[in-house]
Symmetry: C2
Subunit: 291 residues, 2 copies
């Protein structure tokens, strides 16, 4: 009988749980005929987005907004000028920006006030980063996004550099960036804005991956934090697979497997994790596979 | 014919050149019968210390100081209470503390004022570190010396940590310390006090060591920065040897050598480097060795 071990801290983080709850509450408050939209998919998970659709909460795609509509800012946050625009359109704006992301917005402006050039360690095209850059512009700050060590060149020109991170940033890369800056610039100030949930989730799979025969990482194929979980696990265990849903599981992955480890990205709801577990159990009970 | 390549930035740094010059000037100013002492050997190099002795500049050992004597504080610096003591004894105190070391003294007090717990990356028993800790005490700061990553535990208890380094600190270890702190503490401020001379000297031997057949590192056996040069070179080239004087050179080291690389610690005067070069040339012209 196969043993299935769920890594600690797998799945939804605090900020996403909160955003989903705020969306559900908003849809309950809206009167008959009122509309509730989220500004982009509320999380990187199409299945959870579909579940919310069934509750009347739709991602805003090409739809025209009307005054009185409810619009939910998802946990990633948005630039402040964008939020202002929404309010000026007479919309009911519900801000579900993760409090940890709000802390990054505050940090870049505090560092700007203190005279630092900002290094934001993160992915250039990530909505959270785009939102944070908006706050940096709004407080007249200067800065750059650092995705590779090469991106640091811009920062080396400044004597005072302040560093923050995208909340889902990988700790190892963050350490490297800070280390390099420490020997290049005269004065460095670092505000560690990496969310604990992410590092605990990464740490848990780092511990678990070498101790199991197969690792299944569940989460959106377009989710940065899920991809990072996959890469961490894959390095420690070549039998690592990234799936979004249980249908993608292949029986041959589990041949002779005695222990299967599971983790899931920040946007994966518990009900999907459960479906994957059930499907692995089914697969393993089939006669052709010996797990 | 063997080729001898001297690594860039080998030998005396700015601070040591300045200290030696200040000592020589002081001895010229002193009237007949006046005495000039240095508080400990002015540099980690017994040969240069002997040369200064011949100019009437003696390291203070067990001698009794008398009012009117000149005492030179060497480039490492000393705790401020110790300097005060010397002045109260009626001595003529010449402060040859390296300006880069003075910058560390200022940095720990500035960071203390801003509410940071201090991490001083350096060697616990190094005179420079002992001096800096004196300045930290004098401005009522709290801090710890970090020599190994284990020493960081003390700092992890604090939310705000400020980092400085012994001026001769190895950059790679400094990067690691700063990186670890960046993900542990909430707010980190780093003032890079590593002296450029040290890193340039290290960089130069890192580039040179793999390109030569033998590396000779010249400098006091008790000099921390020389030992680091030795370790950097040894990792890249197993035929690396640490000597203080040309007499220690062994002909067999140079068997079949075509290129010999030379570097020297911050306390090695040029005249010793020249003697080593001449001795290598002699050794290589002897018939039993084929370099």
């Amino acid at each position: 009988m196969v043993e299935i071990v769920i890594a600690e801290h797998a799945g939804f983080c605090f900020g996403v749980k909160r955003a989903v709850k705020l969306a559900e509450e908003s849809s309950k408050k809206v009167k008959e005929g009122g509309r509730v939209f989220t500004l982009g998919p509320i999380i990187h998970n199409p299945q959870e987005v579909n579940r919310l659709k069934s509750l009347g909460i739709e991602p805003l795609e090409n739809k025209e907004l009307k005054p009185g509509d409810t619009i939910i800012i998802r946990s990633h946050g948005i630039p402040p000028e964008k939020e202002q625009e929404l309010k000026e359109k007479g919309l009911n704006v519900v801000d579900a920006t993760c409090p940890y992301v709000k802390a990054v917005h505050e940090a870049v402006c505090k560092l700007t006030e203190e005279g630092y050039f900002i290094v934001l360690v993160g992915e250039k095209n990530h909505p959270e980063v785009i939102g944070t850059l908006g706050y940096l512009r709004a407080c007249n700050g200067k800065g750059t996004v650092v995705e590779t060590l090469d991106d640091l060149r811009e920062a080396f020109k400044y004597e005072k550099v302040g560093v923050v991170a995208q909340t889902t940033q990988n700790e190892e890369f963050f350490k490297k960036v800070v280390g390099e800056l420490a020997v290049w610039v005269k004065e460095l100030k670092v505000i560690n804005t990496i969310c604990n949930a992410t590092s605990l989730r990464q740490e848990a799979i780092r511990n678990l991956a070498p101790k199991v025969d197969v690792v299944i990482v569940i989460g959106g194929k377009n989710s940065g934090n899920t991809r990072r979980l996959y890469h961490i696990a894959k390095e420690l265990n070549p039998n690592t697979y990234h799936i979004e849903m249980e249908e993608e599981l292949k029986p041959e992955w589990f041949k002779n497997a005695k222990r299967v480890g599971i983790t899931a990205g920040a946007s994966t709801p518990d009900w999907i994790i459960e479906r994957v577990i059930n499907r692995i159990k089914e697969v393993c009970s089939e006669s052709l596979v010996y797990c």
